[in-house]
Symmetry: C2
Subunit: 344 residues, 2 copies
């Protein structure tokens, strides 16, 4: 495997890069008209996720259209609960909905530990197809949700502003919560190892609801499970952890020796984050997605400002969150180009 562009892998490993690499969370998605066209032919989001051919097609799109330095496999973090036996629906413009949620120890007992190769073979197939389609142009990123975020959906049953049912579960049923987190962690390790075996060059753990836990709860219910996953993967591929909104955990993440890259959202100052995290991690992020509503000159100027703040090495440029679907493709491309053209 000789990748023509391995900038992101080198940046993640702390090796020298001649320019800052760039990719965008949700780059394979509704922001691209080409994605919407493909999707219109399909039954819905879940069908798209489960079709390796279509997942491959939309995964490669942003590499061609936006010129990003990596592809990320088109999938969803909620494939894990489903593979564990807890089904969900994706309700248009409302998000995921679990008809049944986890309440008791018996509910947790009834779940199985998912086996990546068997239960999630469609993702592995999509990765294999995509690797072939990419033809070694850029690395392919695999991913999974962090155990706390997956638990949050399994208990809450849907998205929420406060996730108060899920947090209540941590406060009132801590043992059951740990049992559930354990099963999710084992499933996720199998799943990410299967993704790597299928060809993923780097894996990212998304803790989307990290920021609604207190520091103490995060240290008890979230970080140890992320560490377990990271430790199981880091000798295979570089590992990125993105704990959105969890400003309070940056110092701890800096000490997580098994992880290579820390994702930052746009509220986290580059200099302060570097101080908290230390010199041994690559930082990823962190432009505000709403910046891409600006005019082209502003996007370019702010992208360059971001690059100067992070410095020329150990940085992977990205947004601080996923692309919003109503952003214009040309504005997104402008951000990517601004990173790529920057002269140090």
């Amino acid at each position: 495997m000789n990748l023509q562009n391995d900038l992101i892998l080198r940046a993640a490993r702390g090796e020298k890069t001649e320019r800052t690499p760039v990719w965008l969370m949700r780059q394979a998605g509704r922001v691209l008209p080409e994605y919407r066209e493909v999707r219109a032919k399909m039954g819905g989001f879940k069908e798209l996720v489960k079709s390796p051919e279509f997942a491959c097609e939309v995964t490669v799109q942003p590499v061609d259209i936006l010129g990003v330095d990596a592809a990320i496999i088109f999938s969803d973090i909620l494939v894990i609960p489903e593979a564990m036996g807890l089904d969900y629906e994706m309700v248009e413009s409302r998000g995921p909905l679990f008809p049944k949620t986890i309440r008791t120890a018996a509910d947790v007992e009834a779940l199985r530990v998912a086996n990546g190769v068997d239960d999630l073979s469609y993702v592995c197939d999509a990765i294999r197809l995509t690797k072939a389609a990419l033809g070694n142009r850029v690395p392919l990123i695999g991913f999974a949700g962090a155990p706390w975020t997956i638990l949050a959906y399994m208990v809450e049953g849907s998205g929420s502003k406060t996730f108060s049912k899920a947090k209540r579960f941590l406060y009132t049923e801590p043992q059951t919560a740990h049992a559930l987190l354990e099963k999710i962690t084992q499933s996720t390790i199998h799943y990410l190892k299967a993704q790597v075996a299928a060809g993923a060059d780097l894996v990212q753990i998304f803790d989307s609801w990290a920021g609604i836990l207190s520091p103490a709860q995060y240290r008890e219910f979230a970080l140890p499970y992320i560490a377990r996953i990271s430790e199981a993967l880091h000798t295979l591929v570089p590992v990125t952890v993105f704990a959105k909104d969890a400003h309070f955990i940056r110092r701890d993440l800096g000490q997580l020796s098994s992880c290579h890259t820390i994702g930052l959202d746009w509220t986290m100052d580059a200099t302060e984050s570097r101080q908290l995290i230390g010199p041994d991690k690559t930082l990823q992020g962190n432009a505000d997605p709403c910046l891409l509503y600006s005019d082209f000159a502003t996007i370019k100027a702010e992208a360059h400002k971001m690059l100067r703040q992070f410095g020329s090495q150990r940085h992977i440029a990205n947004l601080g969150h996923g692309l919003y679907p109503d952003l214009e493709k040309d504005k997104v491309r402008c951000f990517v180009d601004a990173v790529k053209e920057f002269q140090w």
Copy 2:
């Protein structure tokens, strides 16, 4: 005016307190069965806000029922847009909805600067009634939304996970945004001065959506207007600023000489916050509201842990966010009692 219990005012001014005072955001509200009973007699949330008699009744309730050290006038931050000429509806279980939103400079031009005494006389009447009903037992807190949060609703038109329309407005129409913030700021200063004239003993500025702005945007579009309001009020009464989720602005708030107290949410560590903010402010907060789903022993232990973390002086105990409506009254009372009984 000789308040029998002025602990909160003394704590805010940095004067010695014999114990840590406590009140709770949203203490006047659905968490109390007594509130739900009063409310069932009324047409809806907005009618309740506009009826001084009922606002007075529910404002006093938590002083009697929970034993808190302050009352906070029952009202809503969105009375300001309405007084400026932008009406809203409160949709049951969905939140506020603005039939018309702000888009252009002409929209901003058409708004008036609200006059607290005339446009919002019902709030001032409620404050006068409440002061009489409290009979100098505890201080009465007045409040308003911070200009950025008010703008966010006026532009977005409703609650939102990302407030991307409001943030887009800042990126694409910065001058119009500043013009709108200026009118909101003037309205808010008039409004809070009228609240103080009517009897409010302390005012709190709620920046509920502070945490979705980048540090740079917060410094341009939010903090200067909060500073203006704080400067206009601080010689009259102590001023509290609560910028929810804006971990990145704590150092700046510590340097805002006109403000007495900084509110903290539950993600903000007490020791770290004190270091960032410095010794000259009182800190308010910051238990996770979901802690109150725990058993009584845990609530008590965690409340005491919080008190020890903040220290015995310059702290006003509170949650890091408003009470959730499905919390049990006895659990809420347990938290209040735990603070009041703590022996240093």
